[in-house]
Subunit: 357 residues, 2 copies
Amino acid sequence: MTEPLAPGATIGILGGGQLGRMLSVAASRLGLKTHIYEPGANPPAADVAHRVMTAGYDDTTALAAFAASVDVITYEFENIPTAALDQLEALRPIRPNRNALAISQDRISEKAFLNEIGLTTAPWAIVTTAADLDAALTRIGAPAILKTTRLGYDGKGQARIMAPADAPAALAEMQGAPAVLEGFVDFSREISVIAARGLTGEVAAYDPGENVHRAGILHTTTVPARISSAQRSDAVLIAARILNALDYVGVMGVELFVTPAGLLVNEIAPRVHNSGHWTQQGCAVDQFEQHIRAVAGWPLGDGSRYADVEMLNLIGADVAQVPTLAREGNTAIHLYGKTEAKAGRKMGHINRILPRT
Amino acid sequence: MTEPLAPGATIGILGGGQLGRMLSVAASRLGLKTHIYEPGANPPAADVAHRVMTAGYDDTTALAAFAASVDVITYEFENIPTAALDQLEALRPIRPNRNALAISQDRISEKAFLNEIGLTTAPWAIVTTAADLDAALTRIGAPAILKTTRLGYDGKGQARIMAPADAPAALAEMQGAPAVLEGFVDFSREISVIAARGLTGEVAAYDPGENVHRAGILHTTTVPARISSAQRSDAVLIAARILNALDYVGVMGVELFVTPAGLLVNEIAPRVHNSGHWTQQGCAVDQFEQHIRAVAGWPLGDGSRYADVEMLNLIGADVAQVPTLAREGNTAIHLYGKTEAKAGRKMGHINRILPRT
């Protein structure tokens, strides 16, 4: 399929979390329907999607029926079992492609790929045994951070090593999983570029946002980021290089460290990204619609921004602030429809329109 | 119920058209669900609503089940049968209230109400017979316009009378329905105020938009309207007077004529209004969310605007321009998911962000 999807067509989305929810709303604005595939009952996306399939990723009958009911398949999270993807890919196009997904599912393949296309990352080394870790610490030095190679997000599966003596405890935290040691980077700030590549190869990027984390979870993203215009174009060029190298179709989040030596790539996510939620208030075409446009073969929005915005995540009990936040001027609330406010759970976010500088 | 609805609560919406669709999306942002009541199959709102009840307004079993499944009831169109409203009102609160709905369902009661609270309208007279029409034309003069008192929208049920000789043909067009003769108003422009009143009586208004019609259907709304700041405050005060007089809860659209003698009220609509669609790009809280906030007992957004916007309706075959419009910068597309592009049918709209003046 290379023709743009016509209104009334259906986009299949693997995963029914808040990203799938906001992708569904964006698809509706373009007259497109969504069908959500999600093992859990009553996922956040269910309220706003045309259809929901409640089934596991090992249910080959459900996967086949799902594929038959959609025109193209995309996803809102990275950790989809390979066998399910194999089955789906034989039936419908998957966008972004399998290669992009495979690379970003594994920290080692991601870093190797980034270095291969000439981009700088923090120094890193593969660690499976205590001997690997000793050798890696000797080369990279402490402080450093040990991370599992797969399934890591929001600070999970990570252990800091401030001095070589911390090494055994850090390795134990990996619970035998393959890991990667990353050298600490002396960065002044972290920024994100949310960029998209269309089916015809066009690339569009949003203005980089500046990220602040708390307890390993994104806390705020603010646009414009406090960076120079040279850094701004560098960031966009880095994102474009990654998208083109992967023959990517869709939106990608690229996290970068701003250092005295230039921009380093921290990590990439082959999907819409929490640090791009500000685009819902700042841009005519937000990241969710941009992703839908890309996977549907539509022209991309140009990424231009008409407001300064601060995005603030509502994590766990933060959601209790909503009645107060609802009284604030120039503040857009986005709740995800989750009923239980567990600690560390992303319940929603707000976008504050800032006075223009 | 006077407590704000908690996330997870359900708002029942009578009518499943594009306004119900955009109300459902807005409700989802606040973590609220919607249940749509609509006689027609596959209405535009179905794709994004939590539930849809497909049943007629004479189906008392369906109406009872619908009411039992929701916390509060609102509507996206005025012409709901009285018996259905009677049944629903006994079971759940209806917002805006019955009185507001009754007044705006009938041009005569609407004009009488507006005059009663001290607002100016075009000169008008009730017309049932040829003798009524002759007498009315003598008093009001031609040109004038004859309109059915009920069920009129988008220029339907209207006949222009340029000279007394046009009277018989105009009356025949009413097909025996009660009608009202309105004198022509010499206005320089038409503006709309979209205003809201909350459950606690607070009122918030958006900046007035300037409307241009084509063939009796809204074509564009542009903010800011080209009016003086005195006219801007007059417009907002007029809207507030109407809302307070009706003890109104929800969003109302108020159409005003700008004349040398001041602002005249053209008509009011007890719901979100096509001329308020620009708020989707111009405001942190758009008219749809504002209506949901009001009927859910939440605090209102303050109505402040952070962008200049032109809203353009896509009527019938206009929707074929979407592939071209999708390539325009700073242009947000909103399609309603209707498959057949009949002449005169509202298929979608776009909001163009304008360079700030």
